[in-house]
Symmetry: C2
Subunit: 224 residues, 2 copies
């Protein structure tokens, strides 16, 4: 489903270079469930952004479902992203002027789904994440963990074939965190390829395959 070959990502800051991803090669099968852990600054979000077509590598190749996506135009990348990829951002990126409900509904609106069908699907996910009574709040009227769960609802509502979650439980108590992980795992059980970046060892060890990154490289890749 995913092949990364010799992926490097170098950031330029003034006259300094940051080698955020260092010659990463990785293959992910359809339907796999991976966790990715590692120290702050080790390159986890950068790797996820490359996988999610939110960023381009400095060198190397990325094949998504057999198609070389590294060389696509921005519009083509956006189109592949919209169809196939759900992304839970480390800092959510909710639309400030829309309600929680509208934020979650947005991908379905963009996909041209009928209003009554959309409403039903939004209700289901808000119910699962305990957010129904906050549906009409805007993001600034929500707690940190409520915003995090809205971001998760939005990323998952289209049942994308690839779901990338960057620290989805970082602002959640253990009970809400477990609810979230169960929602993600349900989707994976339905066939969605799932990559979860986390600092929480309890979350990380639930994955079928566990990666560890240090200084831009994958230093550990274990299954079972």
């Amino acid at each position: 489903m995913i092949t990364l070959e010799g992926i490097n990502r170098i950031f330029q800051v003034g006259d300094q270079q940051v080698h955020a991803l260092d010659d990463i090669s990785l293959t992910i099968q359809p339907g796999e469930y991976l966790s990715l852990m590692g120290p702050s600054g080790s390159g986890k979000s950068t790797l996820l952004n490359i996988l999610g077509l939110l960023d381009k590598p400095t060198s190397g190749r990325y094949l998504l479902e057999g198609r070389e996506v590294t060389s696509l135009s921005d519009d083509e990348q956006a189109s592949v992203r919209g169809e196939k990829i759900g992304f839970v951002f480390q800092f959510f990126h909710l639309v400030p002027r829309m309600s929680a409900f509208e934020n979650v509904e947005l991908p379905l609106v963009l996909a041209g789904m009928a209003p009554s069908v959309r409403r039903e699907r939004v209700h289901v996910i808000l119910e699962q994440l305990g957010l129904m009574d906050r549906a009409h709040h805007r993001p600034d009227q929500l707690s940190g963990g409520q915003r995090q769960r809205i971001a998760i609802a939005r990323a998952t509502i289209m049942k994308p074939s690839l779901l990338l979650a960057d620290e989805p439980t970082g602002n959640l108590d253990s009970r809400s965190g477990t609810d979230v992980v169960e929602v993600l795992e349900q989707l994976n059980a339905g066939g969605i390829t799932l990559v979860v970046v986390t600092h929480d060892g309890q979350v990380g060890k639930r994955a079928g395959r566990r990666l560890r990154m240090v200084d831009g490289a994958i230093v550990k890749d274990e299954r079972g």
Copy 2:
């Protein structure tokens, strides 16, 4: 040092009311070290914002070092805040156009400290938090955990008499998280009153006094 009496905070959202803080009374002695835990949405950030003079209660009284601060004007509140309170925000609120170094230095600039003295103090805290090699990056050029640590450096650099930290380790691996907690505890050992909101039980149990909130009320308050 702090007395809260019958504090309520009610938010209005359309025609719905959210009773975020429900009749809270609390006394905190100078130099105490408290943790505050509880489910997502239970009112922890709201309570911290009241303590930090970033928000006013709907009813009730707040005495800070014997002075009734609930009825101060916005300017007076800002002045007390600047002098006495350091706040680590759940979502950092760094200045986007300033470097990490400048963000941390800002409170010292506002306090009129000389440049060479400022530079020295910023170096010390950046060193302690492992951020010296990211000093010239802007917030958008930092990882999530690096931003979190910059927010902590900024909040603590003036050695305020009251330090409020809202989920200071939520985006950190366990090693960086421990570094951060040790920095906060060092300040407390030096006499600073410290309140830490956290979802991490390992962090919460280190405090001398541990509070638990549910649905806007303090349901547990234990010491030792």
